[in-house]
């Protein structure tokens, strides 16, 4: 997706469990004086009262691709709508896809990976998840959809923070971080977040896979330093917050300062996502290969991977390989041992 990225229309996917405040955020985006026009794909007509934008009603229709890949589902309605929208190119600057509260973001994201025509014209910008500070902790226990949406997010808007105590807020943030330590998190009341924080994030742009380090909670709150070398796992940051281990959704980060053998790594990664792709929601990596002066970057959604040489390693830049997986019941030991075996000995 990095090729000719700038000419492609950015698509923001807006998810969030029922009642979290998706429509509030959407109305906020549309009514702000930004001089941009959006095409908005919604599942309920009538909740948005903004003229001047293209509002398209959608039925979330998910179907399986006939390519033998069981988790390779796409949103058929999006394929159709994107096709129709392209006839009106030039009439809008960006697209926002609002999903239903119970939706899994994966089919939406995968639509932008597998559909040739969609890919030609549009690029996935980021998955933005609106979460309800008061109820999210409960939903994470009883609603797998809510957990999926948090795990999948590039940006999390933690909304309705005025309805909880400081302690409750810390608790819900810790629960979010147990699932997804990498998303940018913004605390809001009535979704009052700066538009630049939710739009045009380039989260799926291979050239911008830089934010692979965990996103720490706003520094002004607990001012610890961000140097966490030597810590392998997000449980160990030691910033004084409660730590949770989510029973079924985790993230796993791997790193090494030794070069990787591309001839071992590539087949290993391909095979890993083929076999375990149902469990792996998102993956990202920056890689230093043996005898290669270029950084290699990749990202994936379930079984789909895309990767490319990004740029030369800079002088003095540590040639470190880093990988991140977010998923359900990740086979941690298997992944760790597999990764180790890719290191040039």
């Amino acid at each position: 997706m990095s090729e000719a990225t700038s000419q492609k229309i950015p698509v923001t996917v807006l998810t969030g469990y029922l009642g979290a405040g998706k429509t509030t955020l959407l109305n906020r985006i549309l009514s702000e004086n930004h001089g941009k026009k959006y095409a908005v794909i919604v599942n309920e007509f009538g909740e948005i009262g903004i003229d001047n934008d293209l509002i398209i009603g959608a039925d979330e229709e998910v179907f399986e691709m006939n390519n033998g890949c069981i988790c390779c589902t796409v949103r058929g309605d999006l394929v159709r709508i994107m096709d129709g929208l392209m006839k009106r190119k030039g009439k809008f600057d960006a697209i926002i896809v609002e999903t239903t509260g119970l939706a899994d973001p994966a089919p939406v994201a995968q639509t932008f990976f597998v559909d040739e025509d969609v890919q030609k014209n549009a690029r996935l910008d980021a998955v933005v998840t609106v979460a309800d500070a008061k109820w999210l902790s409960d939903r994470l226990k009883d609603a797998p959809e809510a957990k999926n949406q948090i795990a999948f997010a590039d940006v999390i808007v933690l909304n309705k923070t005025d309805l909880v105590t400081k302690g409750e807020l810390a608790e819900v943030e810790a629960r979010i971080r147990a699932i997804n330590p990498y998303a940018k998190l913004h605390r809001t009341e009535r979704c009052s977040v700066a538009l630049a924080d939710v739009l045009d994030r380039g989260a799926f742009d291979l050239d911008r896979i830089l934010d692979i380090e965990p996103d720490f909670l706003n520094a002004d709150d607990h001012g610890h330093d961000h140097d966490h070398h030597g810590h392998d796992h997000h449980h160990d940051h030691g910033h004084g917050l409660k730590h949770y281990h989510d029973e079924d959704m985790q993230s796993l980060s791997l790193k090494t300062d030794k070069p990787l053998d591309p001839n071992v790594f590539m087949p290993w990664l391909q095979n890993l996502v083929q076999v375990e792709g149902g469990k792996i929601l998102r993956s990202k990596g920056i890689l230093a290969f043996h005898d290669d002066d270029d950084r290699y970057v990749f990202q994936g959604v379930h079984m789909m991977l895309e990767g490319n040489h990004q740029r030369k390693w800079k002088d003095g830049e540590p040639r470190q390989s880093r990988l991140v997986f977010i998923g359900r019941e990740l086979p941690e030991e298997l992944i760790r041992t597999g990764f180790e075996s890719c290191i040039v000995s």
């Binding site: 179907f63 006939n66 390519n67 058929g76 309605d77 394929v79 129709g84 006839k87």
Partner: protein, 339 residues
């Protein structure tokens, strides 16, 4: 060779590029048709541009937004738009509003029957209107991808997810479901009414022999098939989606079952649109690099109509007699060729 660059003095290809009357429409174009003596180029949004034999252009406003679907019978066009309207345009340039979706949903597909009946779809519902009768509607399990009328009788094929539905709108409970996993986007009957063929979201066609619903899988395309055209007499189905025109044989009672398709007019570019000549065994093909060729089915002999180096060809049409060929690329630059 990276690009198809025919040398002007090349003996291997005959060129008629100098006989083409250029047409500059100044709008995005998605398809072309002939209504009477004039070519009608359908815009991506709002307008249809008529072009007469002299190359004179007159534009007619038909929708207040994107034009999503078009069908033609040579006498008129039926179009569906993202304004929720179904409109007709006749050869004189007169526009008639045929239907409006009450919720202003997109009109995703339309079809036109030889006897004047027409059909449209919005979401999962397909509606047929014939003569003065009230419209009759059928809801299918998922969003309609495409519509086509059978050449005989009032029978509508509806493409959707996981198959197609055949429906006689005047017969209660007549809907028959033809299953095949996947998303079916376009649909066409063979002119002899024996086969139904759909284009799929993946790079393949699927077909059913209607006598026994036997499946025909037509695969191997590198890209999605967006254009299909039956050759004169329905002997073959020419398709886009590869870097050659793929023509599936339908002359025998088994159709393409167990047979290889013909592959003609190979270029280093993807075929974007095909249009078979109405009378002779010739077809025209437009490519993603802007090339337009005329090709003889029998031996694949090619005539160059337009050189490469422009946006993809989006529109291609023959008049009913087969004496005029109209074409245009996505940006509305095209031409008329008189044979």
């Amino acid at each position: 060779m990276k690009e198809f660059t025919p040398a002007p003095d090349s003996a291997s290809i005959v060129s008629v590029t100098d006989r083409v009357k250029p047409v500059t429409l100044g709008m995005g174009v998605t398809s072309a048709h002939f209504l009477g003596p004039r070519a009608a180029f359908v815009g991506a949004e709002e307008n249809v541009a008529f072009v007469d034999a002299k190359g004179e252009i007159s534009t007619v406003a038909v929708h207040s937004g994107g034009i999503l679907s078009v069908a033609s019978d040579g006498k008129r066009l039926i179009m569906g738009g993202d304004d929720g309207k179904v409109v007709a345009l006749d050869a004189k340039g007169e526009v008639t509003l045929l239907a409006t979706d009450p919720k202003r949903r997109w009109i995703d597909a339309v079809a036109l029957h030889p006897d004047g009946a027409f059909a449209w779809s919005a979401g999962k519902v397909a509606t047929v209107k014939s003569g003065k009768n009230e419209g009759k509607s059928l809801e299918v399990p998922s969003t309609v991808g495409g519509l086509a009328f059978a050449p005989k009788g009032l029978r509508l094929a509806i493409a959707h997810y996981n198959g197609a539905t055949l429906w006689f709108p005047n017969m209660e409970g007549s809907a028959e479901f033809l299953p095949w996993a996947g998303s079916h986007l376009g649909v066409t009957f063979s002119p002899d009414n024996k086969f139904l063929v759909t284009t799929m979201h993946e790079s393949a066609l699927h077909g059913w022999r209607l006598a026994d619903n036997r499946h025909m899988r037509m695969t191997g395309y590198p890209g999605r098939v967006r254009s299909m055209s039956w050759s004169a007499g329905g002997k073959g189905l020419a398709t886009s989606g590869a870097d050659t025109v793929i023509i599936w044989p339908f002359a025998s009672k088994d159709g393409p079952m167990g047979k290889e398709p013909a592959m003609l007019a190979p270029l280093q570019a993807r075929v974007s649109v095909v249009a078979c000549h109405p009378k002779n065994d010739i077809f025209a093909a437009g490519y993603s690099d802007g090339t337009v060729l005329m090709v003889r089915l029998e031996d694949g002999a090619e005539i160059l109509v337009r050189r490469n180096g422009t946006p993809p060809v989006a529109a291609l049409a023959w008049n009913a007699k087969g004496t005029l060929l109209a074409f245009a690329d996505e940006n509305g630059d095209g031409g008329l060729l008189e044979l």
